[in-house]
């Protein structure tokens, strides 16, 4: 039996104005378990807290009920008070008689009656409270970054700089991501490679960073501080430790007709390749789909020319198992497919290209060595039409586009238009826009320069149809301001395709038990206050995997994610929330219902021996909750048909006792 003390707060006249606090204290005195009951002007004041502490000692209290303001206000305060008096802080319950009573009811008798009932409910609950202690778990001081684009690189660098080892897993043969494919960056127009490649080198040379390129995450187990991850290092048929990146093999490779994905298929590469000159690691990779040796055992040219003896056709996929304390997701984005937008004739004409393809066409390392030439005939285009919002803000066409704004297109289109006019002043550039969105430092100034200084023709309106006619592309669009329909016979049409999360993100989210929105962007723990954390503890978000972002924003989120990781890894032990679920294994059926509703993957199963009838032993599958992962929502408790699963601090019996007290 508990020895409960009841403390009714006046809150000046806030409570005492509509609730007869003396009557409440008196009424609660006769509740079962209550041995002491009093009231005071300000219970949260130092004097009020001292009153509680003294009463605990004097009356040997085991539980405390404070009838006061909302627990969201002072629950923490009174828990500390209890702890200071030597009580377990979880033996405190608050009856909310201010926000939910005195402030909303005007008549004294009504308010008093309700306050007494709320007090009784709190007493009924405390009677069933048990001391709770937060669990502890150690932290593995190593972080994993999934994705080696600018987001992943920056996060890894920041974590490594703080002294923690960090691994980057990149599915492509090199890190660098989308930014490596870009030409210039807005709004400063510095070259992407010039600012990215030093960071790639930094990452490669940093002692705390390991890069697993051409690798993928296979499986994730464990929880915050203690993740166990399986990484599949795909066979690249080249010994990374031996390859010097000299490129001799590439020159000699007879298989020359492999579409070059780095240039978005606008030119070809060999079957053995290094994606681009500044690749990190600068190691060749054999494309097994095209390599004659791997396909039918006839070739072996590269082996002959490799002075380092790095070629290894027998190489196999390798599984690396490693433990991590924190995981950062930086899986980035892809432009959406333009195949389904028939009206823009993307599939019909080579001269209708996406903006990312345009980047490669203007990039000095691109297929045209930086000369802006039409993909169809290699001629210089004199009339270029840019179309914004292709597939973005597209509510009615879920099967082809995206409902959200892709955020970066306004700025890069301005950049492309400006650069074109800068390099080729003889070119007419028209941009069709619905809105121009430039909220960013120096962004609007940038876009205005494109119009005012470079003479880019911005048309408020949308393109309705693009028709290839001869070597021209007939673009029909509307000019809403002039209220005209216009027709342009363009040489090149550039589509600002919407961006979407990388296809690998969805299976990864499942492995991490991290949640995603309907667009497959990772959900943040709180949209405003915890924007770089996933709801799954220990999983952090960096870059466009969380939503469309430009480079500065990505880098700042990468830094923020890194600082969260550093904060976590700096701890030796993690203290959990003790109000977590726990399973009474004697009653558990092992049916998996609880596991299926757990948003955190906190529940696992084990086969355990239990005493059966007549001294026999019975092995049953039963659920266990990992208290370090459980966040205490209670979804499992209701999914459990036998009631084996219960939630500390909000037990079935406690809530029912509250119901009973209220309905008396």
């Amino acid at each position: 039996m508990q020895r409960i003390g009841v403390f009714v707060c006046w809150c000046g006249s806030n409570i005492a104005g509509t609730v007869d606090v003396k009557a409440v204290a008196e009424a609660l005195k006769s509740e079962p378990g209550v041995v002491f009951s009093t009231e005071y002007q300000y219970m949260c004041s130092q004097a009020g807290q001292d009153l509680i502490k003294d009463a605990v000692k004097e009356h040997n209290l085991t539980g405390i009920v404070v009838c006061s303001c909302s627990p969201r206000m002072h629950e923490a305060t009174f828990r500390k008070t209890a702890a200071a008096a030597g009580l377990n802080p979880y033996m405190v319950e608050i009856a909310n008689i201010r926000e939910q009573c005195s402030w909303v009811h005007k008549e004294m008798p009504l308010g008093t009656e309700k306050a007494i009932i709320l007090g009784k409910a709190a007493v009924a609950k405390v009677n069933l409270n048990a001391p709770l202690t937060p669990g502890q778990s150690p932290v593995t001081k190593r972080a994993l970054v999934i994705g080696g684009g600018i987001a992943g690189i920056q996060t890894a660098l920041d974590i490594a700089d703080a002294g923690f080892p960090v691994d980057i897993v990149e599915k492509k043969p090199t890190i660098g991501g989308k930014m490596a494919q870009l030409d210039k960056t807005f709004p400063t127009l510095d070259c992407a490679a010039c600012i990215l490649t030093p960071k790639m080198v930094d990452a490669a040379q940093n002692e705390n960073i390991r890069i697993f390129s051409y690798s993928e995450v296979e499986a994730v187990k464990g929880f915050v501080g203690n993740f166990e991850v399986k990484i599949k290092k795909k066979a690249r048929y080249v010994d990374e430790t031996k390859c010097t990146g000299c490129g001799a093999c590439i020159e000699k490779c007879p298989q020359k007709k492999v579409p070059n994905e780095f240039n978005l298929g606008m030119d070809n590469r060999r079957a053995i390749y290094i994606p681009f000159a500044q690749a990190v690691p600068k190691v060749a990779t054999i494309d097994a789909d095209y390599c004659n040796m791997l396909k039918n055992g006839k070739c072996g040219v590269c082996t002959k020319f490799c002075a380092a003896g790095a070629i290894d056709y027998k190489q196999k996929d390798e599984i690396i198992e490693e433990k991590y304390g924190a995981i950062v997701v930086a899986t980035g984005f892809e432009p959406i497919s333009m195949e389904k937008f028939d009206e823009f004739a993307y599939s019909q004409s080579k001269d209708v290209i996406t903006s990312l393809e345009f980047e490669r066409l203007t990039n000095a390392a691109g297929p045209t060595a930086g000369k802006l030439l039409r993909p169809s005939d290699g001629k210089h285009p004199h009339k270029i039409v840019f179309v914004q919002c292709v597939g973005s803000r597209c509510a009615s066409c879920a099967e082809k586009g995206k409902e959200y704004c892709s955020k970066i297109c306004c700025m890069y289109t301005a950049k492309h238009a400006m650069l074109t006019r800068d390099k080729y002043p003889d070119t007419d550039v028209t941009v069709f826009y619905i809105d121009v969105r430039t909220p960013g430092k120096n962004f609007d100034e940038f876009q205005r320069r494109a119009v005012e200084e470079y003479g880019v023709n911005y048309v408020k309106g949308m393109v309705g149809k693009v028709t290839p006619e001869g070597d021209k592309l007939i673009v029909r669009g509307s000019d809403l301001i002039a209220n005209k329909q216009i027709k342009i016979d363009a040489d090149l049409v550039v589509l600002a395709a919407a961006i979407e999360p990388d296809k690998t993100a969805r299976p990864l989210a499942t492995m991490l038990t991290a949640s995603m929105d309907t667009n497959d962007f990772f959900t943040e723990a709180h949209p405003k206050l915890r924007p770089v954390e996933s709801p799954t503890a220990g999983v952090f978000l960096s870059g466009t995997c969380q939503g469309p972002k430009d480079i500065p924003e990505t880098v700042s989120q990468a830094g923020a994610a890194a600082s969260k990781v550093i904060g976590l890894l700096q701890k030796d032990m993690l203290l959990g929330n003790p109000c977590v679920a726990s399973s009474n294994q004697l009653m558990c059926n092992g049916c998996s219902s609880c596991e299926r509703v757990c948003p955190y993957g906190a529940i696992s199963y084990e086969d355990k021996e239990f005493p059966g009838p007549n001294r026999t032993v019975k092995v049953r599958r039963v659920a266990t909750v990992n208290p370090a992962v459980c966040q205490g929502c209670g979804a499992c408790t209701v999914a459990c048909p036998s009631g084996a699963m219960d939630l500390n601090g909000f037990m079935n019996s406690q809530i029912m006792a509250e119901v009973d007290a209220i309905c008396k």
Binding site: R72, M73, E99, V104, C579, G634, I655, V659, C663
Partner: protein, 144 residues
């Protein structure tokens, strides 16, 4: 017993993160709602077991309302989605057994919706009052 004005007993389960805070906000703004509404704090609306609801009716509640975060805003990401399915199924079943459907309700109330909280409670109490005392899910033993 003398005739008294019929006062319903309403149990409201409120999730800690949204609706309980919404109720607090209603208090902060001094928005009135009937004192017959008694709130039980739960971490998430998905903590509400159908047995709690039946228990409340057994013990004499005339209406039970469950308030949680708006879909998509759950503090625990998915709790209220489960609540939505569970309660849809349960309420439909109670209706199937002929129990007045107006006695049970799920409402999404965010921490910012103090006004909605008060309005919801006023409306719910009004509906329950118009039905009168809960006779179909009562346990007479508890009324002795």
């Amino acid at each position: 017993m003398q005739m008294k004005e019929y006062k319903p007993l309403i149990v409201a389960f409120c999730c800690n993160w949204c609706s309980y805070a919404g109720a607090d906000l209603a208090g902060n703004n001094r928005l009135n709602y009937p004192a017959e509404v008694k709130i039980i704090r739960v971490p998430c609306s998905c903590r509400v077991n159908p047995m709690f609801i039946l228990r409340a009716f057994q013990r004499g509640a005339d209406g039970v309302i469950i308030c949680g975060c708006h879909p998509g805003d759950c503090h625990y990401t998915s709790g209220n989605y489960f609540t939505r399915r569970r309660m849809a199924a349960l309420f439909s079943m109670l209706d199937f057994l002929g129990i007045e459907k107006e006695r049970t309700r799920v409402e999404w109330v965010s921490a910012a919706e103090g006004a909605k909280f008060a309005a919801t409670m006023n409306d719910f109490v009004e509906k329950v009052v118009s039905l009168g005392e809960n006779k179909r899910l009562e346990d007479l033993r508890c009324k002795r």
